[in-house]
Amino acid sequence: MKWLILIILKKRLIKLEAKVESFHSDMVRVNNEVHRHVTKLEDRFNRNLKDQNRVNAQDHKYIIGLEKRFGKMDKNSKKVTKQVDPRLMERNTMKLVDQALKAYDQKKGKR
């Protein structure tokens, strides 16, 4: 009786082993597929990332250029604002006039 039970148990064990084997090979296959898929996704992601980085780098360059231009414009506009400031204009005009008068005075003084 014990022998029979053992045989049955062995058969069941073999069946289970086969099942486990099959599960395992399925698992390995699935894992492999998943791995391949993930690797593919990773590659694609990396490629996208690379592309994105390149685009970003170009945008960055462009934005930096724009920033520089805006900065320059800002600086110039401040300069222009200063130049059209009536008080500054008056000061500059007076300076020019005084220079001309001084140059004449000096020439007169030399005689």
Binding site: P86, M89, E90, T93, M94, L96, V97, A100, L101, A103, Y104, K107, K108, R111
Partner: protein, 526 residues
């Protein structure tokens, strides 16, 4: 068949020629323009048709005294000659300055003014004992009596009115520009008048001078006076104003100078040769016409002459002055360089230009400051005085100061109509209507065609309730306001008067129609 270039050029032949081709100086346009000076009197100056403010402002008159003082004591009564005395203000201001700075020379001096008119002499009344008048054409041969006679000879805007030729000089040789004037329609009267030599009889044709179109052509030049003063015919064809009249006149001036005598000649012109692509055009002052003096040519010619010819080291091109001196040029060079050189020209020009700029920006106080600097440099400049008085009147509204300054200006130039107008306007604002009327009538006597003075006259008449007179003054102002500067103000005042007339007429009519008023209903019954 004609080529396309000839077809395009064909249109230039339009019009009816009034003469055959002539050298430019003998063309109808120039001859009629010359006739403008006959009988023109002072009006062309007073109306500012001729910009005499630049040369007769007092600055050059003051300057003219300086070489006289620089050349030392005079042991004889001095004689001065002014060629083309124009407004006569240069002479008056020169004698003012001489009286102030060298009374001993002034006491015995004689100043010969040419082309004197009664009004001009009126302005010089204070110096009547020192003035001699004579009619004298600087372009004609000079009388022998002029030789070594003058201690000073002055000429402003005269060199540009002397005979010239316009030439084209280049590889193709020296070619003379000839002109032929055309009119849109046939005018036999003008054609006949042009056949008679001279210019003075052409004055009746002045109104049509603006309609004259000038056709030009270049031909191989005949023998020209002062050919030695022309550049060699090489390179690209380049236009050149050959100022042979100015060359001859200046040689005559040099001969007329006494030892240590000097001549001071001021004009506008060019300091370097013209560009090949340049076209030479007239400068029109009112009806008269003139051409920029070729100072480059004069400088080259006289630098080799016997008489010292002085010019500053550097200069601006606005008003050019040259000095001839019958003595050692070194004595006067420094003075000439100082008086007419770049440093002084800029010192005189910049404050005034800056002040005008400030006025445009309504910065009256800065303008006042700048004008102050300008006036400190030339306190006897009536033209500047007029400009500043106008600022005080219109910008700063300092009416009393405007009157004082204008009155000071009138001591320098009693014939400046605008100074009288400024006084009138300031008095009007101060409520002195009769004073304003007196000053404005003087302005109108001197410059009857001033639209501004007619506007003011209308305002004065309106204050005095002379409605009819005011409307007539407005009409005169509108008729004379060719530049339309005052049109808006005149029309506005006219509208105000017309509204006033119709309002009061309406009130009168209503009063007449509604004279009887029944108050029965309001009467309390006993």
């Amino acid at each position: 068949m004609r080529g396309p270039v000839a077809i395009i050029a064909n249109g230039a032949q339009k019009g009816h020629p009034v003469e055959s081709f002539q050298p430019i100086w003998d063309s109808a346009a120039m001859r009629i323009a010359r006739s403008a000076w006959v009988d023109c009197g002072l009006e062309v100056f007073l109306q500012m048709d001729v910009p005499y403010g630049a040369t007769s402002s007092g600055r050059l008159s003051d300057d003219a005294v300086q070489p006289l003082l620089e050349t030392g004591q005079k042991d004889h009564p001095c004689r001065f000659l002014e060629i083309g005395s124009g407004s006569g203000i240069f002479a008056k201001l020169f004698l003012d300055a001489l009286k102030a700075q060298a009374p001993e020379i002034y006491k015995s001096c004689t100043y010969v003014v040419t082309d004197g008119s009664a009004k001009m002499l009126e302005s010089q009344a204070a110096h009547a004992d020192h003035i001699e008048t004579m009619v004298f054409d600087a372009g004609a041969p000079w009388p022998d009596t002029f030789e070594a006679t003058f201690d000073g000879v002055f000429g402003s805007y005269i060199l540009d009115s002397l005979p010239i030729d316009i030439l084209s000089v280049g590889e193709r040789g020296i070619r003379q520009m000839q002109t032929r004037c055309t009119l849109p329609a046939v005018n036999e009267a003008l054609e006949d008048a042009l056949k008679i030599p001279g210019s003075s009889h052409l004055a009746p044709f002045l109104p049509m001078a603006k309609n004259l179109q000038i056709q030009t052509r270049h031909i191989e030049a005949p023998a020209l006076p002062y050919e030695a003063a022309l550049p060699p015919p090489e390179g690209e064809d380049t236009p050149l104003v050959h100022c042979h009249g100015a060359l001859a006149c200046m040689e005559n001036i040099a001969k007329s100078l006494r030892p240590r005598g000097f001549a001071m000649l001021s004009d506008y012109g060019t300091l370097s040769p013209r560009e090949a692509s340049e076209q030479i055009g007239f400068q029109n002052f009112g009806a008269s016409a003139a051409l920029a003096v070729n100072f480059h040519q004069l400088d080259g010619w006289f630098s080799k002459g016997k008489t010292a010819y002085l010019k500053p080291d550097a200069e601006e091109g606005h008003l050019i002055t040259r000095v001839l001196y019958n003595g050692d040029g070194h004595d006067l060079f420094e003075l000439v360089d100082l008086l007419f050189g770049l440093a002084r020209q800029q010192a005189l020009r910049l404050p005034v230009e800056a002040a005008r700029e400030m006025l445009r920006a309504n910065a009256f106080e800065t303008a006042r400051q700048l004008y102050g600097k300008a006036m400190a440099l030339q306190p006897n400049n009536w033209s500047l005085t007029e400009e500043v008085a106008e600022l005080l009147l219109l910008g700063a509204k300092d009416y009393n100061d405007a009157i004082s300054l204008a009155e000071f200006g009138l001591t320098l130039n009693p014939l400046a109509p605008n100074l009288h107008r400024i006084i009138a306007q300031a008095r009007y604002h101060l409520g002195d209507i009769s004073g304003a009327a007196t000053a404005n009538s003087t302005c109108l006597r001197l410059w009857g065609a001033s639209p501004q003075a007619h506007l003011l006259q209308a305002q004065i008449q309106l204050k005095s309730e002379d409605i009819q007179g005011a409307l007539i003054s407005i009409a005169k102002g509108l008729a004379m306001d060719k530049e339309a500067d005052q049109r808006e103000a005149l029309v506005q005042l006219q509208n105000e008067i017309l509204v006033e007339i119709s309002t009061s007429a309406g009130e009168e009519l209503l009063a007449e129609v509604n004279r009887t008023r029944a108050l029965d209903e309001l009467t309390t019954r006993p």
